[in-house]
C-alpha cells in the first residue's frame, strides 16, 4: 500500500531556507533576551581583569601573559555560554518538536551553533583588542589575536555544543559540561595562543592559522553529527 501524501503539499523549504529560518529565530530570541547576549562578554572582561589583580600589574610581565590570558578568558566565556544553547529549547518542549521534524537535524543544529557563535565568539573576537590593551599586548600581536580567535572560537562553539547536547537533559549540567568539554578545548587553546605569541614575536602566522582552520573544518564536519546524536540520546531518557 503506497500512498503519496506529499504530492500537493506546500513547497518544502530547502536546507538554505531552514538554515535561514533557524538563524532568524535564534537572533530574535537573543535580541529579546539581551542579558544572555551581554553576559559572556562581561565575563570575558572580568576574567581578564583578575589576572593583573591576582598576578602582577607590571606591564612587561602582563604583556608576556596576555596571549594566553585572553585565549583562556575567551575559552571560558564561550564555555559559560554553551549550557544555555539547548536548555531553553529542552525546557519548553521546542527541542522535542525539533527532533520530530522531517527536516535534517544537522542543518538546524549547525544554524543554531553558528548563530550562537556570532553572538558570543564573534563578539568576543571583536572585543579582544580591548583586553589586549588592558594586558599590554604589543600592537603587533593584535592581528594574530583577532585572526586566531576568529578561526578558533567557532571550533570552541561546535565542540561545546556537543557537551551541551549531552548534558541538556540533566538539571545540573553547568559544571558537568565544563568537565566534558575543557579537555577537548586544549588543542585550540594551544594553537590559538601560540598564534598570538608568534604574531607578537613577528614570526609568520600562516601555519598556526592553517592548523586552527583544519580543526575548524574537522569540527564543522563531525560536530553536527555528534550534536544531533547526543540530542536524540538526551531527549529519549
Amino acid at each position: 500500500m503506497t500512498m503519496k501524501t506529499n504530492s500537493g503539499q506546500p513547497a518544502e523549504i530547502g536546507m538554505a531556507g531552514l538554515f535561514a529560518a533557524t538563524w532568524r529565530r535564534e537572533f530574535l530570541l537573543s535580541f529579546r533576551r539581551k542579558s544572555d547576549l551581554v553576559n559572556p562578554l562581561i565575563f570575558f572582561l572580568m576574567v581578564a581583569t583578575l589576572f593583573p589583580l591576582g598576578v602582577s600589574p607590571e606591564p612587561g610581565f602582563l604583556s608576556q601573559l596576555a596571549p594566553g590570558v585572553v585565549w583562556v578568558a575567551a575559552l571560558l566565556a564561550t564555555l559559560l555560554s554553551m549550557d544555555a544553547l539547548f536548555r531553553s529549547d529542552y525546557e519548553d518542549g521546542s527541542l522535542e518538536q525539533l527532533l520530530l521534524s522531517p527536516q535534517p537535524l544537522f542543518v538546524v543544529v549547525l544554524a543554531k551553533v553558528l548563530a550562537h557563535w556570532v553572538m558570543t565568539g564573534l563578539a568576543l573576537t571583536l572585543m579582544a583588542p580591548l583586553l589586549g590593551l588592558m594586558l599590554f599586548l604589543p600592537a603587533e600581536g593584535m592581528p594574530g589575536l583577532m585572526l586566531s580567535l576568529l578561526l578558533g572560537t567557532p571550533t570552541l562553539s561546535l565542540v561545546g555544543a556537543i557537551g551541551a547536547a549531552l548534558t541538556v537533559g540533566l538539571k545540573k549540567g553547568g559544571v558537568l559540561i565544563s568537565l566534558l568539554v575543557l579537555p577537548l578545548y586544549i588543542p585550540v587553546l594551544i594553537f590559538g595562543s601560540s598564534a598570538v605569541q608568534a604574531a607578537v614575536t613577528g614570526l609568520p602566522l600562516g601555519g598556526y592559522l592553517a592548523l586552527l582552520g583544519a580543526l575548524l573544518a574537522l569540527a564543522l564536519g563531525l560536530a553536527p553529527l555528534a550534536i544531533s546524536a547526543a540530542l536524540r540520546i538526551s531527549i529519549s531518557s
Binding site: M1, T2, M3, K4, T5, N6, S7, G8, Q9, P10, E12, I13, G17, L18, A21, T22, R25, L28, L29, R32, R33, S88, E91, D92, G93, S94, E96, Q97, L98, L99, L100, S101, P102, Q103, V108, R232, I235, S236, S237
Partner: protein
C-alpha cells in the same frame, strides 16, 4: 492509486486547503468498508526504573479512528506516546507505520506525524505568530499561509503580536494547539492536549479531532477529560492491557 475522487466532506476555513491530498484515496477505501492500518504496534515492551510499564502491548490504529490511551498516573501513557512518536527509543517490540518498520521510514513518519507533548513548545519571548512560523519551517506538513486563520480559530485573535510570556498558561497551550488547525499530517499524537484549556476551547478541539478522523486521519491521545466526542472513539486502558493483547 491514481484514482482521484473529490472530497465529499464539507469543510470550512483552513480545512479546505489542509486536507486535500491523501483523503480521496482513503474515502475510496472506506467506501468498501476498508480502513487502512496506519500505526501497528506488536509486542511492545517497556520498563522504566525497574518497573515494567507495559509488556506485549499490541494494537493497531486505523485511519479515521480516535484512540484514547487510559491509565492511572504513572501507568506509562506519556512514555507510550513518546515511544510511538519516536522520541524515546527505550523499548522492545515492533512499531510499524503503514506496514513498514518505523525506523526504516523515519523521515516519512515524521512528515506524517504531529506530536503534541507535555510542554507546549512555545517560546516565551516570541509572539504566537513567530512561534508558528518556526513550526512551519520545521515541518512541511504545516501550512504557513493559514497561521493568522489558525490563531483566530484558537481564540487568539488580537494576540498575534504579543510575546507569549504575557499570555496565560491556557493561551500558551492554544498557541501550540493552533498547529492542529494548520497540520496536514494524518497521525496526531496528543499528550494531554486539553490541559489548562477552558470548556469552550475543549469542545472546539474535540470537534477538530472528530473532523480530523472523518477526513481519514487518526488521533492517539491521553486526556483526563471525559471526551465528549460522538464518533469513532476507542479506548485502550494500559492498566488492563499490560500483559494481554487485543
Amino acid at each position: 492509486m491514481g484514482i482521484k475522487l473529490s472530497l465529499t466532506v464539507v469543510s470550512q476555513s483552513v480545512y479546505n486547503g489542509a486536507f486535500r491530498h491523501y483523503r480521496p484515496t482513503l474515502h475510496f477505501l472506506k467506501g468498501f468498508g476498508l480502513s487502512e492500518q496506519l500505526l501497528t504496534v506488536k509486542g511492545l515492551f517497556c520498563e522504566r526504573d525497574d518497573r515494567v510499564l507495559f509488556s506485549n502491548l499490541n494494537f493497531a490504529l486505523h485511519a479515521g479512528e480516535i484512540v484514547q490511551i487510559e491509565g492511572q498516573n504513572g501507568s506509562g501513557k506519556t512514555t507510550l506516546l513518546r515511544i510511538l512518536s519516536g522520541l524515546s527509543r527505550h523499548y522492545e517490540g515492533d512499531i510499524c507505520w503503514r506496514g513498514e518498520p518505523v525506523d526504516e521510514v523515519r523521515e516519512q513518519y515524521c512528515r506524517e506525524l504531529l506530536y503534541f507533548g507535555h510542554q507546549a513548545g512555545v517560546k516565551a519571548v516570541l509572539t504566537p505568530e513567530e512561534n508558528l512560523r518556526w513550526y512551519a519551517a520545521l515541518s512541511p506538513s504545516i501550512n504557513a499561509h493559514a497561521i493568522a486563520d489558525a490563531l483566530w480559530q484558537v481564540g487568539l485573535r488580537g494576540y498575534e503580536d504579543v510575546p507569549c510570556h504575557s499570555l496565560s498558561a491556557g493561551q500558551n497551550r492554544r498557541v501550540s494547539l493552533a498547529r492542529l488547525y494548520l497540520s496536514q499530517a494524518p497521525l496526531w499524537i496528543l499528550d494531554e492536549p486539553f490541559t489548562a484549556i477552558d470548556k469552550r476551547g475543549v469542545a472546539a478541539k474535540e470537534q477538530l479531532l472528530l473532523q480530523h478522523a472523518r477526513r481519514g486521519g487518526s488521533v492517539l491521545l491521553t486526556t483526563h477529560h471525559e471526551l465528549g466526542i460522538q464518533g469513532p472513539v476507542r479506548k485502550i486502558n494500559l492498566d488492563q492491557l499490560a500483559g494481554t493483547s487485543t
